[in-house]
């Protein structure tokens, strides 16, 4: 392929900065070891290293909820009903030998972004790859395989050869998310996740059809997302986006040698907001989110959540819901993507940094006033009703005025959002401290 374009790419690839720029919310301050995904929560649990309760929850339970059984990455009755399995286990397509020449990387960047959006992605950005973003060891794709010819390459070699990471993702529905800790919120989360997996697979195929390599399961999506300016890293350990807040997925991005123009990290005021707000930490049912300052973990200065206590909640809520999503929902940035939201984020980002704490205090007060310190919203959708209070059951037929006996409801999942309550959780979640 030794054409001029590729030479240019390689030249650009040579100047790898020693420290990647991740924006204000996460700073690289020391040596970063590449993350081995075999040591991440799900693979650990699949090997049974997190104990029997979690292992059985993950492997040996079937969800009571039909929609969960088709959309969530475990608790199936029949794995063939889960689209992500179908997509992740598919064989890999070949790179087209007739390469489409790229003379203007900026035009190609606009094109790739337009393509991702045309396929239904909500967010798309390009990151400049950095060796510290790469996974250690094998490729990692949940429930699937991602083999390629570059398995033996070192992170530096990979970055030189494939200098760009396409980070594209979907956001989940705001209104249904209000019924998080309920099957309605689970559906909002899991359906958009499946859609995101499909879009990424289609985009990967398209990059290969353009005649360029597309690697999957290579790069840490959060690091790439920060470098690409998808958002900033919040106290809750989630990427917080300008338009959708914390309600975006961070699926496996595409690493490629397609000539592109990378984006830069953004400043939307998350850094200043998280210093003050702590709404996610207050609401977290397992106290997994820190109230304190950032810490340095694996050479990165950031807020570090306790993933183990977060993860351990799951078997206890299995009968009622799958995904907690509390930290994503209560985040003041998680709002519908409408004009007053754009206005607020614009105010935050244009405000000089020393003046931001005052603005954040004001915005936090407004958020608590209008959205509640602890949110209580009732959502009725598809025969589900999230209920009003824990234990309260309500009819699922819109407009129904008939009297209903207590406990006569046929619909499972009437537990309400904030049960088990935070204090109750203390009884069964052991804290590491």
């Amino acid at each position: 392929m030794g054409n001029a374009t590729l030479d240019k790419v390689n030249q650009r690839g040579l100047d790898i900065p020693p420290v990647p720029n991740l924006g204000r919310s996460a700073r690289v301050v020391g040596p970063v070891a590449n993350v081995d995904m075999n040591q991440s929560p799900h693979p650990k649990n699949q090997r049974g290293e997190l104990g029997k309760a979690l292992f059985n929850w993950y492997r040996n339970t079937i969800s009571k909820d039909p929609l969960t059984r088709v959309s969530a990455p475990n608790h199936f009755a029949d794995r063939r009903h889960f689209l992500t399995t179908v997509i992740n286990q598919a064989s890999k397509g070949k790179v087209n030998s007739k390469q489409v020449p790229v003379t203007d990387p900026a035009a190609m960047t606009r094109h790739i972004k337009a393509v991702a959006r045309y396929m239904g992605a909500d967010v798309v950005a390009i990151a400049r790859a950095h060796p510290s973003f790469m996974y250690a060891g094998n490729r990692y794709v949940q429930d699937g395989t991602a083999e390629d010819a570059y398995q033996q390459s070192t992170p530096e070699e990979l970055v030189r050869k494939f200098p760009y990471i396409i980070v594209t993702t979907t956001a989940w529905d705001h209104d249904k998310l209000q019924a998080h800790r309920h099957h309605v919120g689970d559906a909002a989360y899991h359906v958009s996740q499946m859609k995101g997996v499909m879009i990424l697979k289609a985009l990967e195929g398209y990059v290969k059809e353009l005649g360029y390599t597309a690697l999957r399961g290579v790069a840490n999506p959060q690091a790439a997302g920060l470098a690409a300016g998808v958002g900033e890293l919040g106290r809750n350990g989630l990427i917080i986006n300008e338009k959708f807040g914390a309600r975006i997925h961070m699926p496996d991005p595409i690493m490629t040698d397609l000539p592109l123009v990378p984006d830069q990290p953004v400043d939307i005021g998350v850094e200043d907001f998280c210093k003050i707000c702590r709404k996610c930490a207050v609401n977290c049912p397992t106290n997994s989110i820190p109230f304190g300052d950032k810490v340095v973990f694996n050479g990165v200065e950031k807020y570090k959540i306790n993933w183990l206590t977060c993860y351990k909640l799951r078997p206890y809520t299995h009968d009622h819901w799958m995904s907690c999503l509390t930290c994503a929902t209560v985040c003041p940035f998680t709002k519908p993507n409408v004009w007053w939201r754009s206005l607020t984020v614009w105010a935050l980002r244009t405000c000089p940094i020393p003046a931001r704490p005052a603005l954040v205090h004001a915005l936090k007060a407004i958020d608590d006033r209008f959205w509640g310190v602890v949110s209580q919203k009732r959502v009725r959708w598809l025969g589900y009703d999230s209920g009003i209070k824990p234990g309260e059951h309500a009819c699922t037929v819109a407009g129904c005025t008939a009297a209903h006996e207590a406990n006569s409801g046929k619909v499972a999942g009437d537990i309400g959002y904030y049960a088990p309550l935070k204090e109750n959780t203390n009884r069964f979640v052991k804290r590491d401290v």
């Binding site: 039909p66 929609l67 059984r69 088709v70 959309s71 009755a77 029949d78 794995r79 063939r80 009903h81 889960f82 689209l83 179908v86 997509i87 598919a90 064989s91 890999k92 397509g93 070949k94 087209n96 030998s97 007739k98 489409v100 035009a107 190609m108 606009r110 094109h111 337009a114 393509v115 959006r117 045309y118 396929m119 239904g120 529905d173 559906a187 359906v191 499946m194 859609k195 499909m198 697979k201 289609a202 990967e204 195929g205 398209y206 290969k208 059809e209 353009l210 004009w339 754009s342 206005l343 984020v345 614009w346 244009t350 959708w381 598809l382 025969g383 699922t396 037929v397 046929k410 619909v411």
Partner: protein, 198 residues
């Protein structure tokens, strides 16, 4: 003519204006034609092929408690819309097909006719349609009822019967909102008790 007030653009951008093909082509994207019209060299690069060839799963052994046919129909349609279809309707199938009394038909907006645009971009409506029919039919099977999603030569006629629009003399579906710019997806045949539209 757009007025800019800080982050606000007046008038507000239309929700799907970026999907309008004419705007896109005017923007001078040199690769857009390749995206829409060049068929993939390797079919494994196409998600549509992948989902089409996926095997169908089992029906859940226990039937779920369901509501009246009217309410169940609304739930099916609500879920289909949530999964991303633009139009959805339910038709009653001929009585000789006892196994599957109902058909759920979805139609997604298609800027380019997928029959004439074989590129990965031209097939995006098919991809979106397959996403809807795959998940929706799997969900009905998980409810404990039979459902099978398959391409149907009479899909457009069924879509018209389900009230999505009318047929023009060429046999193409014309919908009130999108005209002929729709792609009728796979037809889901099911024995879930529903109420037919149209």
């Amino acid at each position: 003519m757009t007025l800019r007030l800080g982050p606000l653009k007046i008038p507000w951008p239309k929700t799907r204006s970026q999907h309008d093909p004419s705007t896109r082509l005017r923007a001078g994207d040199p690769y857009w034609d390749f995206f829409i019209n060049t068929p993939p060299e390797d079919l494994a690069n196409s998600v549509t092929e992948l989902i089409r060839s996926a095997p169908e799963g089992n029906v859940f052994p226990t039937k779920a408690d369901i509501h009246t046919p009217e309410i169940t129909s609304n739930h099916v349609k609500e879920l289909a819309r949530y999964l991303g279809t633009d139009l959805v309707g339910i038709a009653r199938l001929d009585s000789k097909d006892e196994q599957y009394p109902f058909a759920v038909i979805c139609a997604v907006r298609a800027d380019y006719d997928p029959r004439e645009a074989p590129g990965i971009g031209g097939q995006v409506p098919v991809q979106n349609g397959l996403f809807v029919t795959f998940v929706l039919s799997a969900w009905i099977r998980e409810l404990g009822f039979r459902a099978t999603a398959a391409p149907d030569p009479n899909a457009e006629r069924l879509a018209a019967a389900a009230g999505l629009g009318t047929l023009n003399p060429n046999g193409r579906l014309v919908t009130p909102k999108y005209g002929t710019r729709v792609h009728v997806t796979n037809v889901i045949r099911t024995d879930l008790p529903l109420r037919a539209d149209g």
